[in-house]
Structure formats: structure tokens, C-alpha cells
Subunit: 339 residues, 2 copies
DNA sequence: TCATCCTGTCGAACCGGTTCGACAGGAGTT
DNA sequence: AACTCCTGTCGAACCGGTTCGACAGGATGA
């Protein structure tokens, strides 16, 4: 390993001078700069990250905490990981990715040993045990997902309440009076996935305001169960004119299911949904949907975190940010009103 | 931050004694051990990772290099990431995940600055530019995927050649004489995904040996194109009795496509495929398939890497390991022979 | 001409661990 | 009683950077 001392000797200067050339924190004559640059290139010098972290107490690494739930639809997670990684790198940070099941302990292990400068928490639940831990360590953190207690917390999520309203409004405007809502699975609720009830409650309330009958069901996440459950739901409510789906596994399987039943969209049944843009493209879903911008969420989260790291923890006030969703009309809803 | 010095002072011993208690590398009296343990707990001491890395030149971090190709079916990648992460953690290592497009530079950046103790390269192509870079840095690395030049390289992959033979044999034993093969998209070949031709060539050769007519086509990766291309292929070869699919996006869409065409499996058409177990479960695919154990690949790769890190680079000879695939019969092939 | 300021560089201390050699003192040997 | 050996602990050096204060020497100003 070639050290800063080797470079200094080669260039005939002291170690500190090399350091100042590297950081630019003090003026160094152009001639010396050139000699040092040459030495660096000739020797192939790269600063030792550990030593630098020790001296500066900055690691230029962000901790990304994610958990895989066996009962969850996996492809969704990746859509957040990529923008987090890319945004971090654009600011000179690397990503330490931890999938450990014990989140709180992980935060302390990583944080107390100073392996990272900050944390990104993915898929945060209502009473996520990681949130209090985050307050105990001295690195800042940002959440993707909304906990119940948002006091002094930096969080970002899609505005699921608004999303539900937009979709109900969309159906109401086209004269639908009875709709079926399929939400994420019930165990996601139990786990505390607040987006489930934020969307569900808002949809029910909005429907009630219009006098629309709405039948809310919990969907399934695993292949065969999805199909069975969906068929049962469709059997139960033959008069519903529209389907509102907030469940990736269900919407991915829906084209097949409807085809099997001989149901045409939108002639026989209208369908609206909520999924991320990437997801829709991946499965080329033909449904009118509110699209959650996973990229935007990940990108914004990391940008905010880095700003907070660099400007000091207290300079940037913590903030809960709800991203406004937008609807993309793909013509999967029928207008029942006389024109 | 509480340091080892604080602990030492509290326990009334020297810093080195605390260090020896932590590492167990020298005998320390039980009484002293207890005092130090108490001090550690009272003060909440956690060793600084940077300092430790500096002193030991060990970071206990592995670099995981992966690239996302926009034209690729994303869910597959995640199946490798999880076992890599879990296996690493089980051995006390964390994962630095880098998605940078410039692999060679990343390897040098991360490796030369001593941020990691070793590398895991995912989705390695035939002439992957990262492989030569891996030879230039002083950390060992392990590949998942097979490069053309396997000289002095530690790699692991599924035995795609054998997989193809197993599937052709399976169809041959049931009397099929004309089959259609759908491989991964053509741009994957251009990129150097050697698994494409390892599987394809072996299938064609094996079919030829039996005198089976085989029509090989490149599949698509994106939703709508998948369906279009598949329909076209089916139109072109109406007499084929079996379909052999080596493409995640195609096999995921196949139930829908076949249903739309009114084709029943296996009565009208036999289907065999190659996909990973997790993938099949995710989409509850009902096809007889050779299953690639992504978990096993990731797990084995990391285990080998860690052994090599700990036993010294030369102690463990580099090795190319091809995992033998196994077929799971789900009854999607019809027996055409008179019984 | 001398005090003052600025520029460029150096040496030393420091970050927080690990590890080696030294050594005190008690146990075991002869 | 003198010697050797073993156990437990300490001090100092080291890992490879950063940063602060000091200072030499030339430029500037009065």
C-alpha cells in the first residue's frame, strides 16, 4: 500500500503539504502542486478510507436498512434501492446495505461504531422500532414510509390519502355507484404498514361522501392465493362496476384472472389501481392508475439526508413530506353516465 | 463518543488491557475482565470501525458490485442480493453495495482505498471488464456468472449446459420431435451474458443428437414486446409440440398468453423452463422446470470469498464451480409415446 | 529601513484502535 | 535459596490520514 508519506517523500515535501494539495484547504504553490500530482500518479496513491474516517470522523458512507418479508412482493423493494444508491454516489457517498432482521440493534452496531454518516430506512411501519433507535445514535436518518409518531423525524412518503381520493373521484365522475377495493394483505396491516389504512380509510370516506357503495377486501401476496382470493371477491360482488386495486401482486395477476373469467376491461368492469411507474412498465399493465414515483422518493430522501449531514444536524428542520400522486389515464374505466 | 481510553480509565487499567479483553488474544485475569466488562456496559462503548480498520487493515466489509440494466427483468437480481447479504452477516461482514456503471473504476476506488476486504461480482459477462480490474487490486473477489477467461478466477454459476441437456432429454423421453426454444433477449448476448449461449448451444446440440427439430428464438424482456414476440413465435411453428423457455419475463407472461390463445398445457402444448425456485413461487408458475438455486449460488460465493480472505489469498486455490441443476416435474409435459 | 502582512511549508499532535516487547511477582524446581 | 517459568499488565509504537500553530522569507507600506 502506498501512503501519503510515500508521496511526500517522492515529491520532497512534508505529509501535511500533500494533504493540503489533496483537500485544497490551504494555498500551495503551483510548482509544488504539480510535483505532488506527479508523485501521486506515478505511485498510484489512493487515500486510505479508514485513516481518513478516523481523522475526520466522516466515512462518506450511508447506511441503507431494508427488510425482506417472505410474504411480500419482492420486486417493489428494488425500485427504491436504485435511486438511493445513485443519488448517494452522485454526492460522493457509498451505500452500506444491511438486511438484518433486528433493525434497532443494527442501527446501534453501525452507528455507534461510526461506519456511516447517516441512515436511510426503507419501508417504515407505523410503530417501527427502528425509529426510536435512530434518535439514540448520533447520525441523522431519513425515513421512507410514515411512522405514527412523526415528531422530530425526517420522513418522505407518497400521499396515499390523496391518491385514494383521486381514484374515487375518477370513478365517481364516470357514474360508478358500487366498487370493490382490494388493499394489501392483512398481515401488512398487522405489521404496521400505515399506507394500507391511509389509502383504505380515505377511499371509504370519499366513497361515503358520494354515496358510493364500497367493499374493501384484503388481498394476497403469493401467487396462487392471489388468484383464488380475487375470484372469490369477484363472485361475491357481481354488481360492482369498478375495481380499485392497491396491491402489486394482485394487479400483476389481474389480466390473467379477468381473462379467465371472460371479463373485458373496461366494457364489463372498470379497473383503477395504485402502483409505481416502473412496476407498471415491467408488467405492461394497461390500467388507469395513480403512479407512485419510487425514484423520486428515493432520490429526495437521500438528498435531504446528505444536506442534513453536511449542514449539521440541527440546521435543517426535520420535515414530513408527502409526495402528491398523479393519475395516468389508460382508458380502463368506462363512463356510465349518459353523454 | 466513548473511546477505549475512557473504558480503560473507568476500569483502572491500560488501553491495551481493554483491547486484549475485547479480542481475547492474551490472558487477562477474571477479576479484571469483569471490571472492564462493567465499564464497557456502563459507558456504552463500541469500538470505532475506522480506527480498527486502520490498525488491523481489516474492514469486515465486502463490496457487492451489481449493475442494473434498464432492459433487464429486475426481480431476478434481488434473489442474489439477499443470500449474499445474509451469509456475509452470519460471518460478521457487512455489505457495501455499489451500482455504479463503471465497474473497473469502482473496484479500484473501493479496493485501493481499503474500504472492503473482498468483492462479490454479480451478473458477470463473458468479457467482463471488471475481471481484469479485480486482478489489479489486492483484495480477493468471487464471481457469480462465468467469464470467458477463467484463468485464476474464483467463480460460481449454474451449469446451464447440463440444464439444457436435462430439459431436452425430458422432452425426448416423452416423444417430442419438434420444439421451440425461447432464450433471453438478443442484447443480453451482445452484452456477453454467456449463460444465453451456454444453454442455447447445448440445447441445439442435444436436440440434433436425437434428431429433434428445434427452433431457437430470442425472447424479449419488456412487457408488451414479450407478448407480441411470443405470439408471433407460436404462429410461426404451429406443429411444435413443446416449448422450452429460458427467459423470466416470457415465462411470467406465458400463462396469460397461452390462455388468450386458448392453448391448454400440457394437452395442446408441453412447456418446460429454466428459472429460479423463488421466481417460480413468486409467480406460482405451474411449469416443469430446471430450477437454479439463487440462494445456493449467493451463499456459496460469499462463503468461498470469506474463507479466502481469512486464510490468505493463495491458500485457497481459485476454482470455477458449476452448480448441477435439478428438474422439478410439475406435469406440464405430455407423453406423446404410445404407452 | 524597519515593522507588518501574506504566502507557502513544516513539524507535531491527534483521531482510536492493536500489538509487541518488557517486566513484576508468584509458583514450581532442584 | 537461587533459578526458571508462567501469568497478567503496562507503555510505547504504529496504522495513515488531517489540522493547528509556527515560521521563513518575500512583498508591501509608512
Amino acid at each position: 500500500m502506498v501512503t501519503i508519506g510515500d508521496v511526500a517523500r517522492r515529491a520532497g515535501v512534508s505529509r501535511s503539504t500533500v494533504s493540503y494539495v489533496l483537500s485544497g484547504k490551504r494555498a500551495i504553490s503551483v510548482a509544488t502542486q504539480h510535483r505532488i500530482q506527479e508523485a501521486i500518479e506515478e505511485l498510484g496513491f489512493t487515500p486510505n478510507a479508514g485513516a481518513r474516517a478516523l481523522a475526520t470522523s466522516q466515512t462518506m458512507v450511508l447506511g441503507l436498512l431494508l427488510q425482506f418479508h417472505a410474504d411480500e412482493f419482492a420486486p417493489a423493494m428494488l425500485q427504491y434501492v436504485l435511486p438511493v444508491s445513485e443519488t448517494a454516489r452522485a454526492h460522493g457517498y457509498d451505500i452500506l446495505m444491511v438486511t438484518d432482521a433486528d433493525g434497532p440493534r443494527t442501527i446501534h452496531r453501525i452507528g455507534d461504531s461510526n461506519m456511516v454518516d447517516g441512515f436511510v430506512l426503507l419501508d417504515v411501519t407505523a410503530d417501527d422500532p427502528r425509529v426510536p433507535s435512530l434518535r439514540e445514535v448520533h447520525q441523522p436518518g431519513v425515513l421512507i414510509g410514515l411512522p405514527r409518531d412523526t415528531h422530530e423525524v425526517d420522513a418522505i412518503d407518497l400521499d396515499f390519502t390523496e391518491a385514494a381520493r383521486i381514484l374515487v373521484d375518477h370513478l365517481h365522475e364516470r357514474g360508478h355507484r358500487e366498487i370493490v377495493l382490494v388493499t394489501p394483505p392483512h398481515h401488512v396491516v398487522e405489521r404496521g404498514g400505515s399506507y394500507v389504512w391511509r389509502f383504505r380509510d380515505a377511499a371509504i370516506e370519499r366513497a361515503a361522501r358520494y354515496g358510493i357503495r364500497i367493499h374493501a377486501h384484503y388481498g394476497e401476496a403469493q401467487g396462487s392465493a392471489v388468484r383464488r382470493s380475487m375470484n372469490q371477491i369477484l363472485d361475491t360482488w357481481p354488481d360492482a362496476t369498478a375495481l380499485m386495486v392497491h396491491n402489486d401482486a394482485t394487479i400483476a395477476a389481474l389480466p390473467t384472472i379477468l381473462h379467465e373469467r371472460g371479463i373485458r376491461v373496461p366494457d364489463d368492469l372498470s379497473v383503477v389501481s395504485l402502483y409505481s411507474r416502473d412496476f407498471g412498465e415491467e408488467f405492461s399493465l394497461p390500467f388507469t392508475a395513480v403512479e407512485s414515483a419510487a425514484y423520486e422518493l428515493g432520490h429526495t430522501a437521500v438528498s435531504r439526508l446528505i444536506e442534513r449531514i453536511q449542514r449539521g444536524r440541527e440546521s435543517v428542520p426535520p420535515q414530513v413530506q408527502l409526495i402528491a400522486p398523479a393519475i395516468t389515464d389508460r382508458g380502463s374505466t368506462r363512463n356510465l353516465l349518459p353523454s
